[in-house]
Each structure stands twice: as C-alpha cells, then as structure tokens.
C-alpha cells in the first residue's frame, strides 16, 4: 500500500494529536526493498567519516608545506595595486564588470544567481533521475547547470590568467609590465552602430536596441511555448515564465560577452536610467 492509499483510508486530522505513520504489506521497516540490507552506522559509516577527516587533514598539511597564506605590505589607501584582483571565487563577478555596468554585474546578477539556484528544484518538473548519476534522462537540467557554471569558471580563469594592468586583456606571452593602449578598443553602444548603418536618428537607433532587447525576451519565451508544448504543459504558466526569465538572462550574459569581445558593443538597451 502506498502513502496515497494510507492517506485515503486514514486521513490526517488536525483535531487528533496522534497519527498512523504508515500501512505496509511488508515486514521490513524499509519499503520497496527486501531483504533488509541496512548496516550499523557504528562502525561502518563512522569509519568512513574518520578516514575522510584524516585524509583531509593530511592533504592540508602537505599543501601548506608548499604554499603559504599570502601577506602583502601594510594597507595603504594612497597606493592602489594594479591590477586589483578580488579573491578567486569573486573573480568571475569582477570579470563581468567588463561586460556590464556595476549595478548589474555586481549586485543584480549575483542576486539573480542566488535566487535562480534556490528556485531550481521548484522549476525542474522532471521526476526522473533521483538517486543516481544520469545524463540521458535529464539532459536539459544538466545543460542549464553546466552552462551557468561554465560561465562562472571561464570568467574566473580569464580574470586570473588573462587580465593584467588596468584589467586589459593580456595573453600569457604578452609583456605584463607594459600598459596597453586603451584607445585600441573603442566601445560603442549598439544604437550608435544602427545610426551609422542606417543613417537614422539616435532616438530611432535606441528604439532598435529596445526592440532587440525586449524581442529577445518575448520571442525567447513564446517560441519554446509553441515548439515544446509538452514541456510548457508540464511546467504550467508561472513556473514556465519564471524559468524562461532566468534562462534567457543566463543566455543573455553569454551573448553580451560575445557581443562585447567580438564586436565591442557596450550597451544593447539604452535608457536614461539604466543601460544593459
């Protein structure tokens, strides 16, 4: 008898202070598995935990023979180091400052990453793949997780190894002591590109940018609703809209990195208040 049947026969009642835990056809305390194959935590699990703890301690002890905690000169507000690097786990965010304004790269995007991660279990409606490693049964979920963390780790690697003085791009074989000429790269907002191409006014150019920005989110939401109808049906409207917003935002970060690195585009959306 599964849980549903039990609940039908013995419905939960808030007026009762007691409850029937479960009805089962089996004789073992664990359902769906016979014969019982449990083992005692003492010593089976505790031994594993102790061995892990010893290995971690040994690993740390070996590591600190070769590498020491850094200590630079005394803090000096009048001397800014160049380049100035955040701790490695924040280098991804620091690198994103190249592609977005600080309010987005430094505040809104980290917030969205945290909220997006928290929402993941509520947005993933695929019931398969619990309790074992699988790729084929959860391709899309794995794609999302890997894609997000690929951006995270790639930007960390760029920030660590490919950025030098003035946070300019330095290859490992470049001269890291020589300042690059910042005039070599001129960033332009997308609307000025339209102004140049189509000889329209700046206002119309901005309108094009707005249309591209809004169109990206609108079409990116509507097209999958039609093409992958079963997925949309399974998720329901609000879950789908939430997912779509986070998914397109994540893809947007990657798109903006490409636009910036290959075409020197500074902003797509230009408004008097915010630019993205």
């Amino acid at each position: 008898m599964d849980e549903k049947v039990t609940r039908e026969i013995f419905p939960r009642d808030s007026r009762k202070s007691y409850g029937l835990v479960e009805l089962m056809k089996k004789t073992a305390p664990i359902v769906k598995k016979e014969p019982e194959d449990t083992v005692y935590v003492w010593p089976n699990l505790l031994m594993i935990e102790i061995i892990c703890a010893i290995l971690v301690t040994v690993g740390l002890m070996v590591l600190i023979q070769f590498e020491h905690a850094p200590l630079r000169s005394l803090a000096d507000p009048s001397t800014t180091p160049n380049p100035m690097r955040a701790p490695w786990y924040f280098l991804g965010l620091q690198e994103l400052l190249v592609y977005f304004d600080p309010w987005y790269a430094g505040v809104v995007l980290p917030g969205m990453i945290i909220v997006g991660l928290m929402l993941f279990p509520y947005l993933d409606v695929n019931p398969k793949g619990v309790g074992y490693y699988t790729y084929s049964e959860r391709k899309f979920a794995l794609f999302n997780y890997s894609f997000g963390f690929a951006i995270w780790w790639i930007t960390i690697i760029i920030g660590t190894y490919l950025r030098g003085l003035d946070w300019q791009w330095y290859w490992p074989w470049s001269n890291h002591l020589e300042h690059m000429n910042p005039a070599l790269v001129t960033l332009i907002p997308l609307h000025l590109i339209f102004v140049n191409w189509f000889h329209v006014s700046e206002g119309v150019g901005k309108l094009f940018g707005d249309i591209i920005f809004i169109g990206y989110f609108a079409l990116g939401t509507i097209i999958p609703m039609i093409v992958w109808k079963p997925m949309y049906k399974a998720m329901g409207l609000w879950r789908y809209l939430t997912f779509s917003f986070f998914f397109l935002s994540m893809m947007g970060v990657a798109l903006k990195i490409v636009l910036r690195l290959l075409f020197n585009v500074k902003y797509v959306l230009v408004t008097p208040w915010i630019n993205i």
């Binding site: 664990i30 598995k33 194959d37 449990t38 083992v39 005692y40 935590v41 003492w42 010593p43 089976n44 699990l45 594993i48 935990e49 892990c52 971690v56 301690t57 740390l60 600190i64 020491h68 905690a69 850094p70 200590l71 630079r72 000169s73 005394l74 803090a75 507000p77 001397t79 800014t80 180091p81 100035m84 690097r85 955040a86 701790p87 786990y89 924040f90 600080p102 309010w103 430094g106 505040v107 809104v108 945290i114 928290m118 993941f120 279990p121 509520y122 993933d124 019931p127 398969k128 793949g129 619990v130 309790g131 074992y132 490693y133 959860r138 794995l142 997780y145 963390f149 208040w273 915010i274």
Partner: protein
Amino acid sequence: MLQKIKNEIVESQIFKSVFRHGYPDNDLDRAYAIFSSVFLHIHPVKVRRSALRMRYTFCLGGITLFLFIILAVTGIWLMFYYTPYTGLAYRNIKDLQFVIFGGNLMRDLHRFAAHGMVLFVWLHMTRVFLTGAYKAPREFNWVVGVVLLVNTLVLSWTGYLLPWDQLAYWAVTVGAKMASYTPLIGQNGPWGPQLGFLPTNDIMFMLLGGTVVGQNALIRFYVLHCVVLPLVVTVFLAVHFWRIRKDGFSGPL
C-alpha cells in the same frame, strides 16, 4: 590481558556513567552508541548499505563540514593573537608569521581550509545536482544549501579584510564599492541619488560604517567573520542535517 584491561574499563562505573551503554561490539550497544550520544545522534542507527557507496557521495558534504570545523578551531586559536584595530592588525599577523610558535601553521591551515571549503561546497552542490537529490521532497534542503553557499562566500570575504594588508584593503574596497551601485539604495545605483542616498547614508556606508574602509569597517567585518556568520552557518547546518534525516537520503534503494 588486554581483554581484561578493556573489560575493567568498559565495566567501570565511570565509563558507564559517561557513555550509558556497553562497549559497542554487539548490535544493541552499537545502536545505543549512536542514539545516546549528543554528537553522534545526528546519524541514524542504521543506514542502507548503498548509502555508504563512496562513488555516490564522494563524502563531499562531510569533507565540507570537516573543513568548517578546522576553520572554527584554527580561527578561535588565531583570535587569541589578533586585535581588530588598524594600528595593530597587520603587526599581529607579522607576529603570527615570525614570532608566535605555530602561528604560520594555524594561519596557513585557516587560509587553505577556507579555500577548500568554498571549493568543496561547490563540489557537494554539483554532486547533489548531478544525482537529482534536490528534487521533491528535498527541495527545501537545497534552498538551505544555497544559503550555506552564500554564507561561505561572505565568510571568506569578511575574513579577507582582517590581515589589513594591501590585498585585504583593496579587495574589500572593490567589493564594498559594488554595494554603492545597488539599485534604489546605493549612492551610485540606478534611482539611488534620486531617492536621496548619499555617500553618508547609503548601503555601502552601512556596510563599512564610513565612506571608506577604515577602523569601523574592520571591527564590523571582524564581528561578522568571528561571531555572526559562523553562528548563522551553524544554525543553517543544523537545519541542513536535520532535513537530511527528515526528508530521507536520496541514494539508490
């Protein structure tokens, strides 16, 4: 002979008063050993054989917890030698490096255990993700896990300031500067100035206790790093572990 000594010990009044059960060489005492101990009763008495498979969990969550314990122990040790005062903090670290016995050992352990904790939190999260362990009924424990991840990062970042060297000062200056760009409540953020937020009253001012990283920022980061955040992590860890027991282990049946 050894057997006799062992029996003398485990049957003594002191042993029994401390452990309240016999030596765990039989199933009954093994069960008692777990559930009559405040430290061990976080475990169930028995687990499925398959839940012990290393290639499922890789012990990543356990390693993260162990690193947190190392950080607590070395951190408390370091607190004995550290003064959260801009005129002394850097010299205290120099003393740890060159004068105090075991200073380098403890500082290095603290530093690399911190790096390790960030890394292992992420690895653990990836493992949980890859095995679909965040799915119903464990959604909420994943949320608790994300809270712990964020807390780990903030703990690392607040600790970064304490040595009061160039690395510390500028990394925190850059990070705090970010806060001033917060929309609505930051002096440089969209709609911040329009809503009346200035360098002297915005979110960055609240974080640093001033307009620049100085003594107030140091004491704030010190209290956050040594008291507030470890407490928050401990509370959420308790919930995290409790929920594993309540929601069930995700492993293969």
